[in-house]
Subunit: 477 residues, 2 copies
């Protein structure tokens, strides 16, 4: 039955791009509008984002961050204040030139990121070491005028959070940069079940204006990378450009050190491209808006209805989101829909099972069917949700590990790059020339210098000179 309903989803092994587009539409995550390059995030998709926001926001606040709301527009002269930054962003911003029928005196862009706005504000409110650190975060929409767009992965409007912090010392700012990339790593591993690789970006790939950029790199089912969150250390460059200074404990003026860090709705894309299958979405329980769907089997039946009602109450008491599908569709149709939507557990309740005082649980991730006694359903489901969460991570990790390669020299690199999908690790001399060569020859960009296992164990795979570190390369979305 399920196959019949979902057959319009093309196989992910056949055409991954089309499969992805089909999933986001069929699972009611997004829709398109006449605003090109933007997406409508539909209620089911937005509920995933709300879960992500709620978990991360709590964590940010626990760590001492405060939320703030900056203007969405940046006057051109303000954007121009930090040279590297404006060079990075000016080509891809949307310009507001008119208010009503009148041309503006100075055009303004819709924020592509808000460093300059935060700096202008920090300049006003940071006077003394007592004002530091400043740990601010903002949940908002940013705009980058992308030519080619795909839902969640690359859109002109992006929902995200951007943390911007100021610290008295380089050490504190670096600690914050690393603390926040760790928050992203833990969140993606523990909630999104994504086996991410964390590391440092090369000078070539780092954020416009940053001294150091750390990244969380996820690998999709097709071996292609998705940069899933970044944390930047700016040193004092922005602060100097904006004239931000504070009086230290010795009453001397110093320039503070700055960080910023952000994650976006792109993470929803990475959940889909990592876990979902040809039947539809597969959502990690901890992030699923609806964790359990109950589907009655057979004709109207009082015992079935009463069992459902009592189970629903018990799930509500435990705050486990549970939907009862009471529509007039056939059970087969409902099963298929539950699979498209990726509800982690489906409970089938029919009179035959109930005669044995049993119901059937179906895991969305494995499609395994498990019969359990009615009395223990909430306990069993709670356990099963934990198991599904863990198994999804383990499965993704196992698959990803089969797509991690090591190339000791350039021939091996070329051989892997042209025949396999995944990330290729090499020893690297640290020169941009070697990075450029790989990009030009094979179209692969550097992903990151991993935090762990980055000591070289041989010469640079490209030029053969002494290597400084190990580094991952890979295709990217």
């Amino acid at each position: 039955m399920a196959e019949i309903q979902n057959k319009s989803i093309i196989s992910r092994d056949e055409n991954f791009a089309e499969w992805y587009t089909s999933i986001v539409k069929k699972a009611d995550l997004v829709d398109y509008s006449s605003t090109k390059g933007s997406m409508i995030i539909r209620p089911y998709g937005y509920a995933i984002w709300e879960n992500i926001q709620s978990i991360l926001d709590k964590e940010f606040k626990r760590l001492g961050h405060e939320n703030i709301q900056m203007p969405m527009f940046i006057p051109e002269s303000l954007l121009n204040l930090e040279k590297d930054h404006v060079e990075g962003f000016a080509p891809e911003v949307a310009w507001v030139t008119h208010g009503g029928s009148e041309p503006l005196e100075e055009r303004m862009c819709v924020r592509p990121t808000s460093e300059v706005l935060f700096c202008e504000h920090y300049k006003k409110i940071i006077k003394s070491y007592r004002d530091l650190p400043k740990l601010y975060n903002q949940w908002c929409t940013i705009v980058r005028w992308e030519k080619t767009t795909r839902p969640f992965l690359r859109t002109r409007e992006i929902l995200w959070q951007e943390g911007h912090t100021m610290h008295a010392t380089r050490e504190e700012a670096m600690a914050e940069t690393l603390r926040m990339i760790k928050v992203y790593e833990d969140f993606q591993k523990n909630y999104l079940a994504l086996p991410v690789i964390v590391g440092e970006k090369t000078d070539k790939e780092k954020f416009a204006g940053a001294q150091k950029t750390y990244t969380v790199e996820a690998m999709m089912y097709d071996g292609v990378a998705l940069q899933n969150g970044t944390s930047h250390y700016f040193g004092t460059d922005f602060a100097k450009a904006f004239g931000i200074e504070f009086l230290n404990k010795d009453n001397k003026l110093e320039t503070p050190h700055q960080t910023s860090w952000g994650v976006t709705t792109r993470m929803i894309g990475s959940i889909i491209m990592t876990h979902s299958d040809d039947l539809g979405l597969v959502l990690p329980p901890k992030i699923a808006p609806i964790k359990i769907v109950i589907i009655p089997i057979g004709k109207e039946n009082e015992i079935v209805e009463e069992t459902i009602k009592s189970l629903k109450t018990r799930f509500d008491e435990r705050e486990i989101t549970c939907k009862v599908d009471e529509s007039d569709k056939s059970p087969g149709f409902k099963f298929a829909e539950a699979e498209v939507k990726g509800y982690p557990i489906r409970i089938e309740i029919g009179p035959r099972d109930l005669e044995n005082n049993e119901v059937t649980l179906v895991r969305r991730d494995t499609l395994e069917k498990i019969k359990v006694g009615v009395d223990v359903v909430p306990d069993e489901c709670e356990k099963l949700l934990d198991i599904i969460q863990k198994d999804m991570y383990d499965k993704a990790l196992k698959r990803r590990d089969t797509m991690l390669y090591f190339a000791k020299d350039y021939d091996e690199f070329k051989e892997i790059a042209t025949t396999k999908s995944g990330f290729i690790k090499i020893n690297w001399c640290g020169e941009v020339a070697c990075e450029d060569k790989i990009k030009d020859d094979l179209g692969l960009k550097s992903r990151c210098i991993p935090m762990d296992e980055h000591d070289p164990d041989g010469p640079c795979a490209v030029c053969g000179k002494d290597a400084k570190c190990q580094i991952y390369f890979g295709k990217q979305y």
Copy 2:
């Protein structure tokens, strides 16, 4: 002491506008940036908005609404689809004309409101009576290119929520329109302690494109009105313009009926202008980010410190947000700061009081000092927070009622309008000519035809003809 610190806040009776601006700055609610007409909502101000969002969002969801996220841009041709609507909004939208260095094929405005985007989407997803009602809501930022701006009251960027719903029948849509204005009324009365008047807008004052607009009208300390939330019934006008139709149970095509409703960060302005005083902010406990501040008195003292620590723990356990001011400022300075910030209760803990096993509670709303035993502090504070909430409402209601007037004829109306501040109720014939006359002669706009007590008890106060209803007039922000 407090007076010394806060004396830079001008008296609200002396210059209300300047007092307001001073409060929003001094209480760290907002700051300005080089983005003219927009404001930075600082952490303390944003925390009030987060509290508002959290309460309303829960209520919307309880009533069956789902959150969604629409694009922030509207192509000009889409905005033009509903005639009355575009006439109302086109003069005050911000236009994006360039993406990067390239001019757009069609310019787009930043959404001033999202009716047209919702309609375009509803056209796609509403096919059958089974798809109705659709109860969507969006939390987002909108832009209206205002010439004169004031923090929270009138800004170019506005944080708000906009509900947009579609229904099978006029009755259902009207019920939704009224249900949501009631949600706003209850919220503003019960959480913001605002004694609001709810009623219907005249044809002249209703929302561009709406058939009916209901409004929540709050009266500020100076007698001037603040429109604090609206709910609109659109009939089928938008739906027809967009070609939205559904198959009813008899398999016939029908046009659905539509509503929209919204409240904004303006509500924060109304809290300030209703409750605050010459010492600073006064926040209703239910919406205050920090409900209690504890201030130690005297030199460092072990018993004081232990008492504070234990109280803090007990407040945390009850989830009552409590801040301990351990800074190296003087107690007097801390008292003044607590008054500026409007924390509902201040607890002063000093060794002398502790000898009697007592501490001093100070109510922010009345400045009354109350000595209570250490053991009962959390209980007493919980009770006191409820009392403050209720007293703030009662006080605001009492004051507002002294500024409600009734004018039986135009001479009386002119007399009141030129000598008093507040709302003036009259019997009204329902003709726009009489409404216009008041506007032209005296600069007062109609506020609303109140839901209660709207039956006329005499002829129209302006033209002397038969009256149809009673209506309020007043100056507005």
